[in-house]
Every structure is written in structure tokens, then in C-alpha cells.
């Protein structure tokens, strides 16, 4: 049985990774999970400058989910190089650096400084953030911006380029096609779903930023549907995520057309979850006579 997954030039040892924003830069969970068993670590989003993040509270639990507005809190690329890279260099696991920005130039700056690092095996581009040069419209909601940004970054790196899609659009397949046209090696879907919780006593949003991002099992059917739609629209691999809490959830994503998956919010409940999910996937393959991950495809 072969659990490996190919994304561009990269071969991951298995399809299960940790979703960006939930796993820091890997070190924080090092005592709780065998990092070498992960298919990939998708890091916390990195921007050129440090970002302190949003006002608190940044989190609130919702029915079978959590709503967050962290605000891309991260140390910035320079401190990433000095503080996080030495640890990442010790890992054998594939490391996908998640990159975020407010302008095209922001993304370019991060790639410029990190592309030569051997510990970075690929990039996941977070396009759910507002482009300040386009009136704050999120990059990921406009196919032209997505294609331009992808093409611009494609010229800078030979490493796998994964565009992380937002579900907060009318037709996600249009955005996925734009990423493919720009030269992306894969797309991951979905980022968090827009949501809001209001404190009726104080009569204001619980999260000061107002609208925030919903994740967890509540959004899983949204993620599976997006994966199903996108995998039919593009020929590059799709990485599915959103609310995976057990192997069966991940198998839904694979059957929907994903070639790999990410575990995010579920890590907060059980830090061992990614390993349980990959174990469950391999048991399912065994029971059903599947040889490769691609054997999950074509049933729906």
C-alpha cells in the first residue's frame, strides 16, 4: 500500500497534514505528537513584518465549531528566520510555509527571503486576506487577482505552490481555475467560513473585529462540497480541510476528490488526531483493497 502524495515536485509521506494557524511552526506540539509521522506541517501564516494580531477575545466556541479572529499574529519573516528555521531544519517532515500579505509585494518579500531555505518544501498562499491596494477586497474573491498573484509568485519559486481558497465566494471553482491558470501546483480548500456571534446582553459582537472565521466540524460539509466542486473544475491536486475530527471525515474529503487533507481545529481537541486519521485512512485502504490514494477518486 502506498500512502504517498505528490504535490508538484514534492512527495509527502502520507496525506495528513496540520492546518495552518492551528499548529504554530511545529515546535509547540513537538512534545505531544511524533512530528515525523505527519504528512506535512502547514505553518502559521507568515507576513514580511511582525504582526501583533487582533484585539481580544480572539476566540469563541460555537455549536460544533469555533469562531476566530487571530489577525495573522506572527513574528515576521526576519524573526522566523532566526527563531523558527533552526527547529524546522531538524525535521524530516515536509514543511509547507503558509504566506499571507496585504499586497502582492508582501507575498513576494516572504518568498524572496525564504525560497533558498532547504527546510521549506513548499508554499501555501493564504488569499483570504484583504488586498489593501484593491479597496480591501480579499485576494481570494477575485479570479483576476488570484491569477496575477499566482503567476507572480510562480516566477519566483520552483517549490510547490498551493493556493488556499476561501469558501466565502459565489463560485469557488472559478477561483480554483484562476489559481491553476496562474501556475499553482495545488489548491487547498477551505479556509474559514465567515461567521459572527453576538453577545445579546452587551449587544455587541463577542469578537471585537466583528465578523470572524468559523472552523471545526460545523463547517465540514461545506469543505467537502467545496472539495467536490473544485476537484471537478481543475486537474491539479486538491487538499481538503475543514472540520476533520476522525478518519471517516478525512475519507469523505478523499472520496470527494482530495489528494491530501489537513487537520486543524481537531488538533485542539486531540493533539494525536493527525496520526489517528492517517492510521484510519490506511485501515480503510486495507479493508477495501485500495493501493494508492488515487483509488479513493472516481466513486462520486
Amino acid at each position: 500500500m502506498d500512502l504517498t502524495v505528490k504535490i508538484g515536485s514534492l512527495t509527502m509521506s502520507n496525506p495528513v497534514g496540520t492546518a495552518s494557524g492551528t499548529f504554530g511552526f511545529g515546535e509547540e506540539y513537538g512534545e505531544l505528537i511524533d512530528l515525523s509521522q505527519l504528512g506535512a506541517i502547514y505553518t502559521k501564516a507568515l507576513t514580511p513584518e511582525p504582526r501583533p494580531g487582533n484585539a481580544v477575545p480572539r476566540l469563541v466556541e460555537t455549536p460544533s465549531g469555533i469562531l476566530n479572529s487571530i489577525g495573522l499574529a506572527n513574528p515576521g519573516v526576519d524573526r522566523f528566520m532566526s527563531e523558527k528555521v533552526p527547529f524546522l531544519e531538524t525535521l524530516k517532515t515536509s514543511v509547507i510555509l503558509n504566506v499571507s500579505g496585504s499586497t502582492e509585494d508582501d507575498y513576494r518579500k516572504v518568498l524572496e527571503k525564504t525560497d533558498s531555505l532547504s527546510c521549506i518544501d513548499g508554499y501555501e498562499i493564504n488569499i483570504s486576506c484583504p488586498n489593501v491596494k484593491h479597496g480591501g477586497l480579499a485576494f481570494g474573491t477575485d479570479p483576476r487577482q488570484v491569477e496575477t498573484l499566482t503567476a507572480s509568485l510562480r516566477k519566483m519559486t520552483d517549490k510547490p505552490l498551493i493556493l488556499k481558497l476561501t469558501p466565502n465566494v459565489t463560485d469557488i471553482s472559478v477561483i480554483a481555475k484562476a489559481a491553476e491558470a496562474g501556475g499553482a501546483d495545488a489548491v487547498s480548500c477551505i479556509n474559514t467560513v465567515r461567521g459572527m456571534v453576538i453577545d445579546t446582553r452587551k449587544r455587541k459582537s463577542v469578537i471585537p473585529a466583528g465578523i470572524a472565521g468559523l472552523s471545526g466540524p460545523a463547517v465540514r460539509p461545506v469543505g467537502v462540497a467545496a472539495t467536490y466542486t473544485v476537484s471537478r473544475a481543475v486537474s491539479i491536486p486538491v487538499i481538503g480541510l475543514g472540520g476533520i475530527m476522525c478518519a471517516d471525515d478525512a475519507i469523505q474529503y478523499l472520496l470527494a476528490g482530495a489528494s491530501a487533507v489537513q487537520v486543524g481545529t481537531g488538533l485542539f481537541v486531540d493533539p494525536q488526531l493527525p496520526l489517528k486519521v492517517s492510521g484510519g485512512i490506511s485501515a480503510y485502504m486495507n479493508e477495501n483493497g485500495f493501493e494508492k490514494i488515487i483509488d479513493f477518486h472516481g466513486f462520486l
Partner: protein
Amino acid sequence: MKQFISQISDLQSVAEGYYRLDFQWLIDTVPRAGQFLTIKIGNSTSPLLRRPFAISSFDASTSTASIIFQKRGKGTELLSVMKPGDDIDILGPLGNSFSRIVSEEDESKENHIVVAGGIGTGPMLYLADELKNNGKNPLLIIGCRTRDLVPYSVLDNSINTVICTDDGSAGFKGTVVDYMRSNPGLDSNSVIYSCGPEPMLKGCQLFADETGKSSYVSLEQMMACGVGACMGCTCETRGEKQYARVCKDGPVFAGGEIKWT
């Protein structure tokens, strides 16, 4: 820190809506006062996240750890009806501790005032116990709204304890800060440690600043990962850092570090 499945050895109500839960501590790392753990309550996705609880006591001879919790949501409601022998999924010990944050100078001071409010009582009972075991004579001040909320059954008679109630139904009538203000005998060679609602922590910090005392606080915040990865549980700090992670950089901070709202 480790994740382990333990069994509940005892679960008792200690005041109205407050419970003490004892369980076997199955790992070698000894939890210190100020540290916390998270518990996955039930197997459903609602409640979803693990719930954080500060450790309220640790008995090394029997490897028994305890937490004190208040029933105030679905998670703690489910926890309150669990039974001895039931499995619980523990992740801990998490966070720093008073012993790691308190300066040597403050540690060597004569007077140690341990202030607890409401749900902040658990970790402060443990801190008072730690200080006593280190040869200090701590003063424990517990603030509650009313007598029914005072956890009398878990108090240690050998620790000098003052109860303050807002309505005067037990002990001193007034807040913990009112009590400290009315006792000028608490000289400046004192350290104040506090855990409880934010207005109380802020009050303790202001009092410490006004009277030249050192102050340390243990904070509570909504948490997701508990291990410093998600940046969800931050608090605002003074100076360059701006935000610190309550779960990893805290929950214990020098009071002067926190930017109070």
C-alpha cells in the same frame, strides 16, 4: 506536558455551584501552583474544545491532583455529573507557574499575600500550600459574593485565611482590596499574588503599585490549543511585546506587565 487518560477518584461539591475533582496524576512531571491542564469533556463535538482548569492541589504521596471548577456552561455541567471511576482525558501540566515567574528577591520577602476570587480560588489554594511548604507563612484572602460561595471544605486550617464577602454574610464585608486597604499592617515588604475576575486583579495591582508591593497575577482567557500554537488566548501587555499568550507565556505574569482594560 503529556496527554493521558486518568480516572476520577473523587468529585465533591465544595460550595454553591463549585466542585472539586480529584484524579490520578499518571505522569512524572510534578505540576506546580499556577499551572493548568485541559480536559476533553464527553465525546461529542459540543462542547468542542478542551476546557482549561488550574491545578488546586497535588499530593505527591498518592499522585493525586485536584481542580476546583465552577459549573457555568455545558462543559462544566457535564463534568459536574461525572462519577468516581469515570475516565477523563487530561493534557498537562500546561503554562508557567508562580515558582518560575516570581523573582528571587520577591521569593525571599517576609510577607506573602495570596488573593483569590471566585473561580480563581483553586490555584491560589495550591500556591498558599506551596508557600507554606517552603517555610513561609502566607496570608490567604478569599473574596466571594456571598457565604454560600465560600469553599470552606477545602480550606487548610493551618493557613492564615481571611474570607471577604460582598454582602458581609461571612468574614470581612467588602472586597479583597477593601480588606487590604483596611489593614495598614501589610507593609511594603510584601508580595501580592492574585487570581480571579479581572476587576479584582486590576484592583490588586493598583493597590500593590500604590503601596510599593510586588504583584503577580494569574490570568484566565478563552483557549483553544493550550500549548502556545494558535495565538487565540492572548492578553495585552505593556511595552514592545504587546500581546502575550496566556497559555504559554502565562498564565502567571508580573502584574506590571499587563495592560489592564
